[in-house]
Amino acid sequence: MKQEGNLRSYVIGFVLSIVLTLAAYALVVNHLFSLQLALSIIAGLAIVQFMVQMLFFLHLGHEAHPRWKLVVAVFMVIVVVILVFGSLWIMNNLNYRMSPTDMNNYLRGQDGI
């Protein structure tokens, strides 16, 4: 049965995960890039490693049709993205509106004030 995976898939997953972890670590510890760029790169590396482990450790790609596991996993990712980025968006916006300096700057920028 393919779903159980084989030695090769575990070894590939393990090696790729180590490389991705060390790359992200080296990048941060040596301050290789500007903050914004470094943040984007480590986020990208984490997402790649997430996919590597889903494929090679959890064998998500080897499911027989209909792919219910994949459906549930995609739904999970959608909920997680909405939850995390939605919270950050709302809280930053709230922060902005409740800060007197930012609000005054915003009001001054409006026509007629």
Partner: protein
């Protein structure tokens, strides 16, 4: 029902159990997502206290990460041995996974004890409250996984690789891989982002 039909019926039941457990794991991801969201919102709220850059020892965290990653790999090897029907290798690989898990957990508790001893417990700031909640929830899952592993190793040692045990091992290995996946994000969001 003939022998083969019966075997097929059992296999279908096993697949259903594994799928049900998969749904649980995906739901657990949503629990972690809410804790990650809380952490991301509160990470700047240090209330005049120390932030991640001052608190986290990066080589220590890297070691923790590699230990957990290796344990996820050895859990995979244990499952390969289980499907090949090699009882002794199953026990050896799971024992190794267990030891690596214990090493990871002791490092995490050492870090917590260290933080608390310096007055930087969860009561210090919003940042630390959300840090402890997120990381300790993961640690609690690891603890549960370790207890489960002991019970299953005992079952395999007693009864051999017969069906309820092998099915449970499959679920445990899914759980263990999932915990390593959550840790990727803790490593990136809490520690790497915190060290910048």
């Amino acid at each position: 029902m003939s022998e083969t039909e019966l075997a097929l019926e059992h296999q279908r039941a096993d697949e259903k159990t594994v799928f049900g457990f998969w749904v649980y794991i995906m739901t657990d991801c949503v629990l972690f997502a809410s804790l990650f969201a809380t952490f991301a919102v509160l990470r700047g709220n240090t209330y005049g206290g120390p932030d991640g850059r001052e608190l986290f020892s990066m080589p220590f965290v890297l070691a923790e990460t590699l230990i957990l990653l290796t344990s996820s790999f050895t859990a995979g090897l244990a499952m390969l041995a289980a499907h090949a029907g090699k009882r002794k290798s199953v026990l050896v690989w799971f024992a190794l996974t267990f030891l690596l898990g214990v090493a990871f957990l002791s490092m995490e508790l050492t870090e917590f004890a260290h933080l608390a001893a310096e007055g930087n417990s969860w009561q210090r700031s919003g940042f630390l409250s959300s840090f402890f909640t997120l990381v300790a929830t993961h640690g609690l899952h690891i603890t549960t996984g370790l207890l489960w592993m002991v019970v299953l190793m005992w079952q395999v040692a007693q009864k051999g690789l017969v069906n309820p045990a092998v099915r449970r091992l499959t679920l445990l290995s899914l759980f263990w891989h999932f915990l390593d996946i959550v840790w990727i994000f803790i490593f990136t969001i809490v520690y790497l982002w915190g060290a910048m």
